[in-house]
């Protein structure tokens, strides 16, 4: 069963830049897909549509639910978006309150939201940081806290935008372990082919707002000379 079904998605930014030109995309339940492509090729613009943060032409269905104004709230609960810069995602005074922010917005009571947040922080090995202010965390810790904030909302799809940016090798390794253990369907927007290869079973290559190719991570990296371009 497909949890994401996108047909003919087109989007033009207010400055006139055509960012997406007819994207067709599917994501199966529990599948992990990597999105590759040059900066500005439309990857981030595309994933922002899945959560209803941008709205273009075409149709988007999330878990069988058509993305419309009246389904926005339900869809935002189903699609957890982890942004590239964790500083932009951690805005509450403490890590625990930040992780509980999503559940509270979903109408969960304060005590239950805090309990759920504590559980998620334990799951990402961040129990020691519950009372810390987000700006006291390292880059890796911020990333894990941001992921916990999204997981606390019990999403069915987790979308991660450049998750390995500013992570050191141990942090990157920990992140791979954490993501492997997640049962949800995942979309990874990344330039990091090795990272994608260790998690994704399929890769999609974006080029000037279109999908230029699909296949296994190795196949796509070879076909678009992506590994050498990214890592030379």
């Amino acid at each position: 069963m497909n949890v994401v079904e996108v047909r003919g998605l087109r989007y033009r930014y207010p400055d006139g830049t055509q960012a997406l030109e007819g994207i067709d995309f599917q994501l199966a339940s529990a599948e992990c897909v990597a999105l590759f492509g040059a900066n500005g090729s439309g990857k981030t613009t595309f994933v922002l549509h899945l959560n209803g943060l941008l709205s273009g032409e075409g149709s988007i269905e999330i878990c069988g639910l058509a993305l419309q104004r009246d389904t926005l709230e339900q869809i935002r609960a189903k699609v957890g978006l982890v942004f590239q810069d964790s500083d932009e995602q951690l805005f509450m005074p403490t890590v625990l309150e930040d992780v509980a922010f999503g559940p509270r917005n979903q109408g969960v009571g304060a005590e239950e939201a805090i309990a759920r947040a504590a559980k998620m922080l334990e799951r990402v090995s961040m129990s020691a940081a519950v009372r810390k202010a987000p700006y006291h965390l390292s880059s890796g810790e911020k990333r894990r806290a941001a992921i916990a904030g999204v997981l606390a909302m019990n999403p069915e799809i987790v979308v991660l935008d450049e998750p390995t940016t500013s992570l050191d090798p141990p942090g990157r390794r920990d992140l791979i372990g954490l993501l492997r253990a997640l049962p949800q369907a995942k979309i990874l927007v990344t330039h990091d082919v090795e990272f994608a290869a260790s998690l994704a079973t399929r890769a999609v290559f974006f080029e000037r707002g279109r999908i230029a190719g699909e296949g296994s991570v190795d196949e796509i990296a070879r076909r678009f000379n992506w590994r050498s371009r990214a890592e030379e």
């Binding site: 509450m92 922010f101 304060a110 999204v150």
Partner: protein, 229 residues
């Protein structure tokens, strides 16, 4: 950064921390009105206000020396006006100006040091402070640290290229543009997690009998000092 320390203090526990933010805000408003309307000649009253704050600091179990030192930050602003008043031939009024601003600053600092920011903002909202203003306060508080770090990076980048960093219009414009972009991204991140225009609270906001008693007692003390001394 100062606000990191105050943030930590605000999350400690004491009988004053336990009071509802609305009770503390009400007590502060009465205190500020009493202090600001006290005539300059009533020096005994200023001493009594200071004693009242000292009792509150003791009850809050906060480090008194650090709190008193931090409140000195208000003095450079009022000292200018106090100096002008002094030179204008009214030393008593100048002294009272310094005392009033310091006591007011210390009282406000005591409030933010005993009340977590989300609770304080909720209290402000119940005092009819517009919600957008409360949101702006929350974001300034949270992102002051990030923006100051951004400014430090720009300063280092300018130095590494042999330039001395000055707060030129160009650098400020870049900082402003980056802050604007960041604000936009933060708002998107909030929407993505279901934000609907109100920050959730994590503490019970029931106004209890103890809160009412605290408000009445502190307001009565401020008014008594104002009238009697």
């Amino acid at each position: 950064m100062h606000h990191v320390v105050i943030e930590r203090w605000s999350r400690e526990s004491s009988p004053l921390h336990a009071r509802d933010a609305r009770a503390k805000l009400g007590a502060l408003v009465v205190f500020l009105i009493a202090v600001s309307t006290t005539p300059p000649r009533s020096q005994l009253a200023f001493l009594a206000y200071a004693a009242l704050l000292a009792i509150a600091i003791l009850i809050a179990r906060l480090p008194a020396a650090a709190l008193i030192r931090r409140a000195l930050i208000v003095l450079p602003f009022s000292a200018t006006f106090a100096l002008i008043t002094w030179l204008g031939g009214n030393p008593m009024r100048a002294l009272a100006l310094g005392e009033k601003s310091y006591l007011s600053g210390l009282a406000a600092l005591l409030l933010v040091s005993t009340t977590p920011l989300p609770d304080l903002l909720r209290g402000l909202e119940s005092f009819a402070v517009p919600r957008p203003l409360c949101l702006v306060i929350q974001f300034i508080y949270r992102y002051l640290f990030v923006i100051s770090e951004q400014a430090q990076h720009m300063r280092l980048a300018a130095r590494s290229r042999g330039a001395s960093f000055r707060a030129s219009a160009g650098a400020l414009a870049v900082l402003f543009a980056r802050s604007w972009q960041r604000a936009d991204n933060i708002y998107q991140a909030m929407l993505a997690r279901g934000f609907r225009g109100r920050f959730p609270s994590f503490t019970a906001t029931r106004f209890r009998a103890a809160d009412a008693a605290f408000l009445l007692a502190s307001a009565a003390a401020s008014i008594a000092i104002r009238i009697a001394l």
